[in-house]
Symmetry: C2
Subunit: 103 residues, 2 copies
DNA sequence: AAAATATATTACTAAATGAGCATATAGCGA
DNA sequence: TCGCTATATGCTCATTTAGTAATATATTTT
């Protein structure tokens, strides 16, 4: 039972960081390779790679290889929903893209 | 826009810690004073007090005074839902109490 | 007003975190 | 095979974090 707590905390912690939120915001539109992500958010490749690993270990992301690249994606649509729900808590609709019904 | 990211990260971070998850698990049944919380989760009063402050600042909790005591509560039912949704992600129903429909 | 109770705050310590830079590893094309 | 590109991994540094213990600040009761 305490084990579950740890896992839950780890999962939430994986979401709870600005750089990672930026990455997730990109990935909500579909899978992307590291080479796309790090320029898009203005962080170093190594830094982004680490954040991706961390989120993967926490169960937030999944990945697959495509030749040289590694494509990352959000593991479960529910996670995207979750993040949108957090936005709603702050009276924020999603970041103007890929929104759902609005109610 | 980056401001919102920070706020979102702070909010999620406030949830992403085992001791705080224990506190939230207690509070989902209703408001509680510090004096009830800290023995219930086996942490020091000062430690719990600081976690409560942190969650309050992050917008997770609200509080009111009742005589000597301070009663804390989860600020918005949506937050409780959010935490339940995280449980569902791990194939966990809520912690056996106060569950909703079960989907 | 003094004692008792509940909560918040401060100072300290150990551990975790995020970022940078350099380097290692893996897969592709010549 | 060699070089080129993409990703992952050490290593270090500065900062943040969770916890403890001690103390300060209410608020109630006597």
């Amino acid at each position: 039972m305490d084990d579950h707590l740890e896992q839950k905390a780890e999962f939430l912690k994986a979401l709870a960081q600005p750089t990672r939120l930026k990455i997730l915001d990109l990935l909500k539109d579909g899978e992307r390779c590291v080479c796309d992500i790090f320029p898009a958010i203005g962080e170093q490749q190594s830094n982004v790679s680490r954040h991706l690993q961390l989120m993967k270990r926490a169960g937030v992301l999944a990945s697959r290889k495509d030749g040289l690249r590694v494509l990352y994606r959000i593991k479960d649509g529910k996670i995207t929903r979750l993040l949108e729900d957090v936005d709603l808590l702050f009276g924020r609709a999603g970041s103007a893209k890929g929104k759902r019904s609005a109610a």
